[in-house]
C-alpha cells in the first residue's frame, strides 16, 4: 500500500487501487494519467498494477471523453475521468449536464451512469483566473449529479470509493492544496456514505462553522487558535453538497445559535446561499447575524500581491468570528497576532514550504 505517508494523494491512490482490485470494470482515464507525474502521484500506483488498459491516457478532447465515459458505463465500465483543473470541465458541460446528470431520469430509470468526474481546484503560485475556479455550487444545482468535496485523507478515500461504486454520476472535487496534507486513514477498503453530507470535526458551543475542502482545514486551524482564547467553535465539514442533508447543521446551530459559513468560491449564487436559505426556511433562532465568508467577487488574480487578500484566511475567519461574537478588542488584538504568526510561516501563495510544483 502506498500510504506510508498518509498523504491526501496517497488516500486517493489507495481508493483507486483497491477499487480496481475489487472490480475489474473500474478504470481511470484522463490527460496525463499515465505520465511520470501521474496526476500528482495519484494514478502511478494504479498504472503500475493494472497497466495502460485500465489507466488510459486520452487526447485533449474533454467533451467527447465525457460522452465516451457515459457510453462505456452503459456496458458496465466504471470510469473515473480526471481533469487536472476544474476549469477544463467547462468544456464537457454538455455531456456532463445534458446527458450524464439526466440520464437515469430521462430514460425512465431503465439505465444509470456510474461514472466519476474528478476535478482539482487550482490555487496559488499565480494560477490565475482560468486555473483556479471552484465551481461546486454550479454542479450542485443539477438534479441527478452527486457532488463530493472531501477535506481529509480519511474522508477522501472513503468518499472516493463510494463515488466509484455509486450508480450515479459523481463530481468529485478536491483542492490542490490538500494534496500534501497527511492524516491517518485506514488501509482497509472502506466507504463513507454519500448521504452523509456533513461530518462533525470538532465539538464546540459558541459558534458553528460550516465549510468544505481546504476551507475546512483552515477552519480547524481557527478552532485551535480561538480555543486558547476561550472561544469554543463547532466545526462541521460539508463534504457532500448533493444530495444535501443539513440535519447536523441544524442541530449544531440550535446549540450554538451562531453561524459562519466559509466558502471556497464566490459568495453570490454560491454554496453559502443555499445553506443560508435553508436556515431561513428552518426558522432557526440565531443570536447574531450569520455571515458568508467567501473569495472576493471577481476572478482570481494571478499576482501574489493581488490574490493575497482574495482568498479567505485563518485571520479573516477569526476576525469574523470575533465580530459575530462581539469579542473584546483587546482579545481580538491577541488573536490577530497569533494569526499573523501562523500566516507568516508559509507564503500565502503556497500550501506549504515543501510545495515546489508542478504548478
Amino acid at each position: 500500500m502506498p500510504n506510508k505517508n498518509n498523504l491526501f494523494t496517497d488516500a486517493i491512490s489507495d481508493a483507486f487501487v483497491q477499487s480496481m482490485q475489487k472490480n475489474k470494470n473500474v478504470i481511470i482515464m484522463g490527460e496525463g494519467v499515465t505520465d511520470p507525474k501521474g496526476i500528482f502521484n495519484t494514478t502511478c500506483e494504479a498504472l503500475k498494477r493494472f497497466g495502460p488498459q485500465r489507466v488510459i491516457e486520452t487526447p485533449v478532447s474533454e467533451n467527447a471523453m465525457t460522452g465516451i465515459q457515459i457510453g462505456m458505463s452503459l456496458l458496465g465500465k466504471k470510469s473515473i475521468f480526471i481533469h487536472a483543473r476544474v476549469d477544463f470541465s467547462l468544456l464537457a458541460f454538455d455531456q456532463l449536464i445534458n446527458n450524464a446528470s439526466k440520464w437515469h431520469f430521462m430514460y425512465g430509470g431503465t439505465m444509470n451512469i456510474p461514472i466519476v468526474i474528478r476535478l482539482i481546484i487550482g490555487r496559488g503560485w499565480g494560477q490565475g483566473p482560468q486555473h483556479s475556479q471552484s465551481l461546486e455550487s454550479v454542479f450542485s444545482h443539477f438534479p441527478g449529479l452527486k457532488v463530493v468535496v472531501p477535506s481529509t485523507a480519511h474522508d477522501c478515500k472513503g468518499l472516493m470509493i463510494s463515488s466509484i461504486f455509486d450508480k450515479n454520476p459523481v463530481v468529485f472535487i478536491e483542492h490542490r492544496w490538500l494534496h500534501n496534507y497527511s492524516s491517518n486513514y485506514s488501509k482497509k477498503f472502506y466507504k463513507i456514505s454519500l448521504n452523509d453530507s456533513i461530518g462533525l470535526k470538532k465539538k464546540g458551543k459558541d459558534l458553528t462553522i460550516l465549510s468544505s475542502s481546504i476551507m475546512l482545514i483552515e477552519s480547524l486551524k481557527v478552532e485551535k487558535i480561538l480555543k486558547k482564547f476561550g472561544i469554543s467553535l463547532e466545526i462541521l465539514d460539508l463534504r457532500v453538497l448533493r444530495p444535501l442533508n443539513l440535519k447536523k447543521l441544524f442541530t449544531s446551530i440550535k446549540k450554538t445559535k451562531n453561524f459562519l459559513f466559509v466558502d471556497n468560491g464566490w459568495k453570490s449564487f454560491g454554496v453559502g446561499s443555499e445553506i443560508f436559505a435553508n436556515i431561513l426556511e428552518k426558522k432557526l433562532i440565531l443570536k447574531n447575524t450569520p455571515v458568508r465568508l467567501a473569495c472576493k467577487n471577481f476572478p482570481t488574480p494571478s499576482s501574489h500581491y493581488l490574490n493575497k487578500d482574495y482568498y479567505v484566511t485563518v485571520k479573516d475567519i477569526c476576525l469574523e468570528v470575533c465580530k459575530i461574537l462581539s469579542v473584546k478588542k483587546s482579545t481580538q488584538k491577541k488573536i490577530i497576532i497569533q494569526c499573523d504568526k501562523i500566516l507568516s510561516k508559509v507564503p500565502h501563495d503556497l500550501p506549504d514550504l515543501n510545495f515546489k510544483g508542478p504548478f
Binding site: 488498459q53 486520452t58 487526447p59 478532447s61 467533451n63 467527447a64 471523453m65 465525457t66 460522452g67 465516451i68 465515459q69 457515459i70 457510453g71 462505456m72 458505463s73 452503459l74 456496458l75 458496465g76 465500465k77 454538455d94 455531456q95 445534458n98 446527458n99 440520464w103 437515469h104 431520469f105 430521462m106 430514460y107 425512465g108 430509470g109 431503465t110 439505465m111 444509470n112 456510474p114 438534479p143 441527478g144 452527486k146 450508480k167 450515479n168 444530495p243
Partner: protein, 314 residues
C-alpha cells in the same frame, strides 16, 4: 420483398403517427423519418441483434428498423407509463435495451461520443459486435463529432458512424453551413474508412454496412454516408413546402427517388413485386399501430409522485 416490407413498415407507422398526431393527444415534438427509411432498414438488416445503436432527435426509423417495441414507442409519444421512458423522455429519447438501442439524444452531436464509448467497451470486453451511431448532416459541424471520430480511430474501435445527409438542419441548407467542404476527405483524414452509398437504396446500404461491420470489428471505425431527404417538416406531422426553404426542383427530384418507389421499381423490373402482398402487409402494419394507439390511450401515465425517486439510481 423483405426490404420493401422493412421500408413500408416504417412508412406506415410514421404516416399513422402523423395522422393521429393531428388530434393533439401525442403532446411532444416529433421528428418523422418519412423519406429517410432506406438507411436504417439497410443498416439494421446487416447488423447482429447484439450490435448496439444510438440515435438522435430523429430516431423513430432507427428504433423501428432495429426491432424496437412499437407499443413502447407509441406509448412514449402519448406520455404513458408503458412508453420506452415511461413518458419521461418523450419522442426524442427512444431506446429499447432489449434490442441494444441504448439511447437517442436531441442535442445535436450529443450521442456520437456515447456510441464511441459503447464501441470502446465492446473492444475492451473483446466482444465481436459493433456500435452504430446515427446522426444527421448538421452533427458533423459539432466539435464533439471531430473529437469522437478522432478517438474511435486512435483506439481502432468497432464503430460504424452512419451519417444521414438530408441536406438540412431545420430550415438551413447544408451549403450555408458547410460550403463546399468534403465530408469524405474529413473522415478519411482521421483514418476512418469512408463508404458512400447509393441514395435511398436499401440493398446497397445493406451490402455496404455488411462489409463495414466486419471491417469495423477487425480493423476499426467505418463511416457510412448516405444522402437522403425528409418529406415532411423538420419537426411535426405536416408538409412545410409552403415556406419555400427548399427548392421545388430539389423536392421533386427526391420525391421521385423515394426509397419505397425505388424499391418497388427494382422489384417490378425483376418481376418480383406482388402488389396485393404489399398492400396486405401495409394493412397489417396499420392494424398493429392502430392497436398500439388504442392501447397507449388506455395505458396509465406514470405516477408523478414517483418521479423524485428517479433522480438517482439506487
Amino acid at each position: 420483398m423483405l426490404n420493401l416490407f422493412g421500408l413500408a413498415r416504417i412508412r406506415v407507422i410514421e404516416k399513422e403517427i402523423a395522422r393521429e398526431y393531428q388530434k393533439r393527444e401525442m403532446r411532444c415534438p416529433i421528428h418523422l423519418s418519412i423519406g429517410q427509411e432506406a438507411i436504417p432498414v439497410g443498416v439494421s438488416k446487416s447488423l447482429n441483434t447484439k450490435d448496439y445503436i444510438v440515435s438522435t432527435h430523429r430516431c423513430h426509423a432507427h428504433y423501428i428498423a432495429k426491432g424496437g417495441s412499437i407499443q413502447k414507442l407509441i406509448s412514449e409519444l402519448y406520455g404513458k407509463e408503458d412508453g420506452a421512458c415511461k413518458g419521461i423522455g418523450g419522442s426524442m429519447h427512444l431506446h429499447d435495451k432489449s434490442i441494444n438501442h441504448l439511447c437517442s439524444i436531441p442535442i445535436v452531436g450529443g450521442s456520437i461520443p456515447i456510441g464511441v464509448g459503447i464501441g470502446y467497451a465492446l473492444k475492451l470486453k473483446n466482444k465481436k459486435n459493433v456500435s452504430v451511431i446515427y446522426f444527421g448532416d448538421a452533427a458533423t459541424e459539432e466539435g464533439v463529432f471531430f473529437e469522437s471520430l478522432h478517438f474511435a480511430a486512435l483506439k481502432k474501435l468497432p464503430v460504424i458512424f452512419v451519417c444521414e445527409d438530408n441536406k438540412y438542419s431545420v430550415y438551413t441548407s447544408i451549403n450555408a453551413r458547410q460550403g463546399n467542404r468534403s465530408l469524405k476527405k474529413i473522415v478519411e483524414s482521421l483514418n476512418i474508412k469512408f463508404i458512400n452509398t447509393l441514395n435511398n437504396n436499401v440493398n446497397d446500404i445493406e451490402q455496404k454496412t455488411l462489409q463495414a461491420r466486419s471491417y469495423a470489428i477487425s480493423n476499426g471505425p467505418v463511416f457510412i454516408y448516405s444522402k437522403t431527404y425528409r418529406h415532411l417538416e423538420h419537426c411535426g406531422p405536416n408538409n412545410d413546402d409552403d415556406l419555400k426553404y427548399r427548392p421545388k426542383k430539389e423536392i421533386d427530384y427526391w420525391l421521385k427517388r423515394d426509397p419505397i418507389i425505388i424499391e418497388i421499381q427494382k422489384l417490378k423490373k425483376i418481376k418480383r413485386f406482388n402488389e396485393n402482398k404489399y398492400l396486405d402487409f401495409c394493412n397489417s402494419v396499420r392494424k398493429e399501430i392502430i392497436t398500439s394507439f388504442v392501447n397507449a390511450k388506455k395505458s396509465k401515465p406514470f405516477t408523478f409522485s414517483k418521479l423524485s425517486k428517479l433522480e438517482y439510481a439506487k
